[in-house]
Homo-oligomer: 260 residues x 2
DNA sequence: CGGGGACTTGAACGAGCTCAACTCTAGTGG
DNA sequence: CCACTAGAGTTGAGCTCGTTCAAGTCCCCG
């Protein structure tokens, strides 16, 4: 099973390899912090939500835009995408969801979901049911900050994405996209310079407003520069400095300078 | 002043024209809802924050990225932009801020501001000081939802912007940008099809990842199609249907289907 | 009324798109 | 375990859209 791994590379102790399915430990999952918001949850319920992982096949739909809002999902393993359908023109990929991240947060106060979410590969997700119209379960007064924190984190990630999409050249956009991807994996305990790429180039191209061929050619260029390699679902950053200078990607807040 | 009457009185002052300076009524300003979060505010303080508008000249800086976070701003009139500096390459325009909108929300829990904010023209802003490290003033328990609502609104606007930036052609991006602009003015009581354009084409181009010349040429094309005209700081949507079909801009949530 | 910044327009170039053929890979069934 | 296949990715050639550079016009503001 490890025959595919580089012979020189040893498994980092504790850390997870990008070669395995990429499952987050429940303690590293955002749903954990989210569930703690609700005073009405018994420890048993907490455990239940965290340990019940509904499995999804590749291409399976979690929910569709327009369906009534029923709750928040968290990614346990695999990867998913949020899309909007532009009627005759096909879909637009709004964002990707990695292990440990929440899905549906933007619809918390809405009657319906805004996006359609589709599994990019075999995945496991957890579900936290919430009655239509927001937080019926009373959040703990002491964890008000936690709720705000979750929304702020989403807002900042969204803004980061906006900066990436506002870049001019394909190289900048793609480089910044993969830096962001690696950063997001690292945040949930995966090694920083070796990460999974659950989405196919088609989805990346769609998301960044590029043609798939351009993605392929640019990645080839990155490989020639010995900056970044993508082989199958495995990505590796070879030269972070080069990466950042090419992409001009500024990390903004890493979440490290926040107050608790 | 008008802000002092019962807050419950939901009175939209007569619709405003885009020809005037474009000042929001205090009742329509997001800072009004924001201020209500704080139990410690006396009615006098509330009035103070709402009626003290600090004037800004064109090009003036509200705050710079990296400066310590001190509070939230609201736009009373005019327009502003959030930028990040890419050291040798100049600035990138992250977003624009219109009358009635809040600035600095993304840094609520941070030690420092993430963006630099600059006035696009003569503007007035209001300021709500908040001690570093988040909400020191205790939000009212009953208005917890209000805080969440504000953050959700920002998150959704940010996602909408992401969809716009992910579009492929200059026509789609520009069309969607102006639709969004008009929509945001309309949300604060301005007429829908006639709106101000406080930013210059240079900033629009920068924000959308286009060249200024492309913006100019595309707008000319829109004018020829009798779809949209921009004359100076005045914009007018002539053919909304055409607009939407060209841009494929989906409005997502207008905030009308939310529950209270 | 003059000056300068914002905008427009033109011409040439090039990054990225499209179309099409091809290769590689992973998943399937024998 | 291997052959087969469909889908994902690669590569090439030509073209288009958007960029760049440069000159010119408009308009706002002093």
């Amino acid at each position: 099973m490890n025959a595919m791994d580089e012979p020189t590379k040893k498994r980092r102790s504790g850390r997870q390899s990008c070669a395995d399915q990429g499952e987050v430990a429940c303690i590293d999952c955002n749903l954990f912090g989210f569930l703690q918001l609700f005073a009405s949850l018994t420890p048993e319920m907490l455990t239940h939500f965290l340990t019940t992982h509904m499995p999804l096949a590749k291409g399976e739909v979690v929910y569709r835009a327009g369906q009534p809002f029923e709750g928040i999902y968290a990614v346990k393993s695999g990867g998913l995408k949020s899309i909007v359908m532009q009627e005759p023109y096909g879909e637009q990929v709004a964002s990707f969801h990695l292990p440990g991240e929440l899905m549906g947060v933007e619809d918390l106060q809405s009657a319906t979901y805004s996006f359609t979410i589709i599994a990019l590969e075999e995945s496991k997700v957890c579900f936290m049911p919430l009655k239509q119209g927001g937080l019926q379960r009373e959040p703990l007064p002491s964890s008000r900050e936690q709720m705000v924190k979750i929304l702020l984190e989403h807002l900042r990630q969204c803004q980061r994405q906006g900066l990436i999409l506002g870049m001019r050249t394909a190289e900048e956009r793609l480089g910044a996209f993969f830096l962001n991807l690696a950063e997001r994996y690292a945040r949930h305990g995966f090694p920083m310079h070796e990460f999974r790429v659950p989405m196919m180039q088609n989805d990346i191209a769609n998301h960044l407003g590029l043609a798939m061929e351009t993605v392929s050619r640019t990645l080839k260029h990155f490989r020639e520069l010995e900056m970044l390699t993508i082989r199958g679902k495995r990505g590796r950053i070879l030269n972070p400095g080069c990466m950042q200078s090419i992409t001009q990607y500024c990390f903004l807040k890493k979440g490290t300078d926040e107050q608790e």
